[in-house]
Amino acid sequence: MNRRLECRDLVKAFGGFKAVDGMHMTVKKDEIRAIIGPNGAGKSTMFNLLTGFTPATSGKILYRDVDITGSPAYERVKMGFSRSFQTPKIFPELTVRQNVFLAVQAYHSKPFDLNVFKFRDLDLPGKTEELLATFDFTRLADQIAGSLSHGDQRVLEICMAMALEPEVLLLDEPTSGMSENETQKTIDLLMRIYGEAPLMMVIIEHDMRIVKRISHRITVMHQGALLAEGTYEEIEGNEMVRKAYFGEAR
């Protein structure tokens, strides 16, 4: 099975403005890919297209060589996609444990699944506790999720994304708004997850130290299109990238 994520000539137009304008990208199985680019380069829109959050105007998205351009988000999730958002999308009025439980249940359910015997055998509460422990949430399990710190809410969202045992994990600026300490912990956590069971990760990230540390390859977007792609060293030495991105960021 060819677990490759690929997009060809992808376009997303909002009215006359093309937020993504002819983007190409191929990410291989178990690869960690960083997407970087100045603000407004179309990184988040690109994510929304890849995950089915917004429909593409034109172009193609393929996963495992299957055309998923028109598939709704929930179907892509069932194919192995999972994502976080820049502003965490969690269940704010439920407890941390309930948040994780709902994710675990969703992963193990078919639509309108009422097979209580199956659920009993699966031990969803046990799986929930395991995840809570992995993400260091045991202590906070009974807290209302909306009352957690911003950093914890972001980690909770990643925890829920991982409850789906994804093949493709897409993280939109996973450490933005986090303290230095939280950022370190989150990156360590991501590396540990990857170390235990490699999976494809696509990460939008501004912090070049993080990009350098975790990604195998880097995609640079500029004005909705591909500017450059390569390893950290290749990107760092790329004159165009310096002009478009590093020049502004420093």
Binding site: F53, A73, F85, K89, F91, A103, A106, A161
Partner: protein, 312 residues
């Protein structure tokens, strides 16, 4: 997970309370049909709250299913002369089908657009019922039928019918609680809490929302059929948007995130309306003032207020 286990005990307690209520009601200046009406609105509101409190969708159109089943009940009795054991299931089925079709048309709309469309559909039924004189009796309503007996049980006396409704009432509470505690109910709560996250947990959100719409519409239908049997009368106001609004109000007053909230709201609503309307013909004004007070000071409803900090 969402509703605590002790709710089952509470359902038992509520059943016992309502079983004893016919002895109590006449003594406090009320009457048995008021109790019947509380249970009927309790069925409507508890079912409706699967949609509002459970899934986070506001519909102002469930009067359509309440009225449709009510009129179907009357028409099947008057025009078709069918026996009650066939009439009630058919009337409820009519609501189920209507909720399925209307839901399929409008469930893709979000928020205020959805609410507007539900009003539009409800009012459409209202105008049909009030204009189609030859079939529905127009604004005068549909008369000429009386509830008789069902499977050997004579439903004509008020207290007999009361206990007949009690059976449906307890069944409704058990079914709705069972649903909300199942994985399907928890999925509905997930959708209420965050549609986007639910979608990205792999949930087919629209299908579940449609499901909640149909189930709540079916319970509205059950309530409508029983209501018309209670009154031996069907009238266009059953379809009126205000009827839907009453269900919303009951859920909000009692607390839409607590299982018994809508039922409590229904009790308070019917009881107060009955009490105040015997005191003054302008009962709507003080009643409205009381409800405004409730909504202002008990923002999570009466039960929500007493369960603060806990998870409904």
């Amino acid at each position: 997970m969402m509703y605590p286990k002790k709710d089952l005990l509470w359902i038992g307690a509520v059943a016992v309370l309502f079983a004893a209520l016919p002895l109590l009601l006449p003594r406090i200046g009320s009457s048995i049909p008021v109790g019947t009406e509380i249970m009927i609105w309790g069925i409507f509101a508890t079912g409706y709250n699967i949609l509002l409190g459970g899934t986070g969708i506001l519909s102002f159109g469930h009067a359509a299913f309440f009225g449709l089943s009510g009129y179907a009940t009357g028409l099947l009795l008057v025009k078709a002369g069918m026996p009650l054991p066939a009439v009630i299931p058919l009337a409820v089925a009519a609501s189920l089908v209507a909720a399925f079709l209307i839901g399929a048309l409008i469930i893709r709309k979000r928020g205020i657009y959805f609410a507007m469309l539900t009003i539009a559909f409800g009012q459409m039924f209202y105008f049909i019922a009030s204009q189609w004189n030859s079939l529905t009796g127009g604004l005068d309503g549909l008369t000429g039928f009386k509830r008789t007996d069902i499977l050997g049980l004579d439903l004509r006396p008020e207290d007999h019918f009361y206990y007949f409704v009690l059976g449906f009432f307890v069944l409704t509470l058990l079914l709705v609680r069972g649903l909300m505690n199942s994985s399907v109910g928890k999925t509905l709560v997930a959708i209420r809490e965050n549609i986007d996250r639910s979608e990205f947990l792999g949930i087919d959100v629209k299908k579940y929302q449609h499901f909640a719409f149909v189930v709540s519409g079916t319970f509205a239908g059950l309530a409508g059929s029983l209501y018309v049997l209670l009154l031996n009368f069907a009238f266009p106001e059953l379809f009126y948007w205000k009827t839907s609004g009453d269900a919303v109000l009951m859920s909000v007053i009692g607390g839409m995130h607590a299982f018994f909230g809508p039922l409590l709201g229904a009790g308070v609503f019917v009881f107060l309306r009955d009490m105040i309307s015997t005191l003054t013909p302008h009962w709507a004004l003080p009643l409205g003032a009381i409800f405004v007070t409730f909504v202002l000071f008990f923002q999570k409803g009466i039960l929500g207020f007493f369960e603060r900090g806990k998870n409904g």
